[in-house]
């Protein structure tokens, strides 16, 4: 049989695994060290914080959009809820901010659980309901008593928190998100999710518990934005309903993740880093045309690389698939 007579292929596959793992963990370590030393050398803290936050958000979105094909247009709700859970925990409950972030994560996941029944909807219906829920959250928080949420003015945390610590918290969350993504891609849950994305009915007919697998992906996708939102509130020291539930947060996350390639582990990371940098460079060079140029670049990307940078690369060179996921 041709199968057993090709030992070099077996070796090749094993080598590809090693190369992939080395590349991946190497990359995570480089990012970790790079971001970790920025504050020491007095680098552009805000830019790097933003970069880490967007990568985390894009990676979190990938868990549901990339792995199961659900596009939550109301993704920002979890970010906003995380921010407010942190704000309320610190200002109203007097919790330490270091505890408030995990608390925000729990609140985000609980909210995700609460609205999990919307996963029964599919495609555009899910997207629209998700968007409406985000808007409802924003209004509800703005209308709550001022002693709790600060009303439409928001809350100010600046006096009780240290900005640099918030920066490092974001770094930890980023690393956790990347490791989760790399675990998921290789795990059986990840395979179930990809099968569901490609054809849920066929996956179910083959014994995959679609409802349960989707729920797990959903909870992962709600955890990271909640953590990121909380940490953003910590880092900036302030939060208000307008910015915490800004639809642009969802839009940017979706664009960054798609630019890199949904459904790949590297995609959201690469897409975010590239676009955030491009944005920064254009902004420095052409302050007036900034948004116009960025829009043109994004349109061109979607047009010429509809599966994102990584997705298109692996489509052109299928052999690469074994090295980068």
């Amino acid at each position: 049989m041709q199968r057993s007579s090709s030992p070099e292929i077996e070796i090749d596959t094993r080598r590809a695994d090693t190369v992939r793992r080395t590349l991946w963990y190497g990359l995570v370590v480089v990012i970790l060290i790079w971001c970790a030393v920025i504050p020491v050398f007095d680098g552009n803290l805000s830019l790097y914080f933003a970069m880490m936050m967007w990568v985390t958000l894009a990676t979190g979105l990938n868990f549901i959009a990339g792995f199961t094909g659900y596009m939550p247009f109301g993704y920002v709700a979890f970010y906003g809820i995380g921010a407010y859970a942190t704000g309320i925990a610190v200002k109203v409950l007097g919790m330490s901010v270091y505890l408030a972030i995990p608390f925000a994560g729990v609140v985000g996941v609980l909210f995700g659980l609460l609205i999990a029944p919307t996963l029964r909807l599919s495609g555009i219906y899910f997207a629209i309901v998700s968007l409406s829920l985000a808007i409802i959250c924003q209004r509800a928080i703005a209308l709550m008593p001022e002693e709790v949420t600060g009303g439409s003015l928001g809350l100010n945390l600046g006096v009780v928190t240290v900005r640099e610590h918030g920066y490092y918290a974001m770094l930890l969350i980023l690393v956790a998100a990347l490791l989760t993504a790399s675990w998921l891609a290789r795990s059986r849950l990840g395979k179930a999710l990809k099968a569901i994305r490609d054809d849920a009915e066929a996956a179910e007919a083959l014994g995959v518990n679609v409802t349960r697998s989707r729920l797990y992906a959903w909870l992962l996708a709600t955890l990271f934005p909640a953590l990121a939102g909380g940490t953003q509130a910590w880092f900036t020291g302030a939060l208000d309903p307008q910015t915490a539930f800004d639809v642009l947060v969802t839009a940017k996350t979706v664009i960054y993740a798609m630019a890199g390639g949904l459904g790949t582990v590297l995609g959201p990371l690469v897409g975010t880093v590239v676009l955030v940098w491009v944005d920064e460079l254009i902004w420095r060079a052409f302050p007036v045309l900034n948004n116009f140029l960025l829009g043109a670049i994004i349109a061109a990307l979607i047009l010429f690389a509809p599966r994102g940078l990584i997705g298109s690369l692996t489509r052109r060179y299928p052999r690469l698939r074994r090295y980068i996921m």
């Binding site: 179930a192 990809k194 490609d198 066929a202 007919a205 083959l206 518990n209 698939r321």
Partner: protein
């Protein structure tokens, strides 16, 4: 029948006013291949979808291996050992062939390495081994049919529902498929086989049922079906 792996009793499925499956009853005895034939739109695929839970039926019972599985979820029915292929192949386009074969065994206790070996062996049985690292979307229509069969091999179910497995597959690969089906039957598997390829279905089936406008109009051995005037009129047209 005493030892049936699948027993369908008075099954009804309506789409609005259309009765696609009308009070259908039949058994698939353990270890045998039951062929199901009928003209386009007779209700064969609908019947299969009711058996494996993709459709909610409007009446009747589906009993798998002694368990009443009427209107249970497809994954529950699958976990009792019911595998199937689809008339129009439904493979996982953005997963590699190996990953495609992993899907039915995600709950297995075997290690990933063992399962990968098994998947490679299954791909080899349908001549797809060289393409194992490609994505599903890179397969031709016929190759997709073969991949579906390999997925069933991997699944190793006790009862296998095959909906038009030979459509669009070239004769030499058809022969491979027939061999695989015969081999699985020797291993004790039972089949419900739908096909318009009468030569293959007559060759493989132990029993045949003929479906016409949602009703079974004849059942029996290949010989009785071939000479049944009602079948000839409904199916072969005079």
């Amino acid at each position: 029948m005493t030892d049936a792996i699948l027993s369908v009793d008075g099954l009804v499925k309506r789409f609005g006013g259309l009765v696609a499956v009308n009070e259908v009853s039949f058994d698939v005895p353990r270890g045998l291949i039951v062929g199901l034939i009928g003209i386009n739109g007779a209700g064969k695929t609908t019947l299969m979808n009711c058996v494996n839970g993709i459709y909610h039926s409007d009446g009747g019972r589906v009993v798998v291996d002694g368990h009443d599985m009427t209107n249970h979820k497809p994954h529950e029915i699958a976990s009792l050992g019911v595998g199937r292929t689809f008339q129009i192949p439904r493979i996982f386009h953005r997963m590699t062939l190996i990953e495609n074969l992993m899907v039915p065994v995600l709950g297995s206790e075997k290690s990933d390495a063992e399962l990968t070996d098994m998947a490679e062996a299954c791909l080899d049985r349908v001549d797809l081994y060289p393409l194992r690292g490609n994505n599903g979307e890179e397969l031709s229509g016929g190759q997709q049919k073969l991949l579906e069969l390999a997925r069933v091999l991997m699944f190793d179910p006790a009862l296998i529902l095959l909906d038009e497995p030979f459509a669009g597959v070239n004769p030499s690969l058809c022969r491979i498929m027939i061999q695989q089906i015969e081999k699985m039957k020797q291993d004790g598997k039972s089949f419900l086989l739908v096909s318009h390829d009468l030569t293959s279905i007559y060759r493989l089936s132990d029993q045949i049922s003929v479906l016409n406008q949602g009703e079974i109009i004849a059942s029996g051995t290949v010989e009785t079906i071939q000479s049944d005037p009602a079948v000839i009129e409904a199916y072969l047209g005079n």
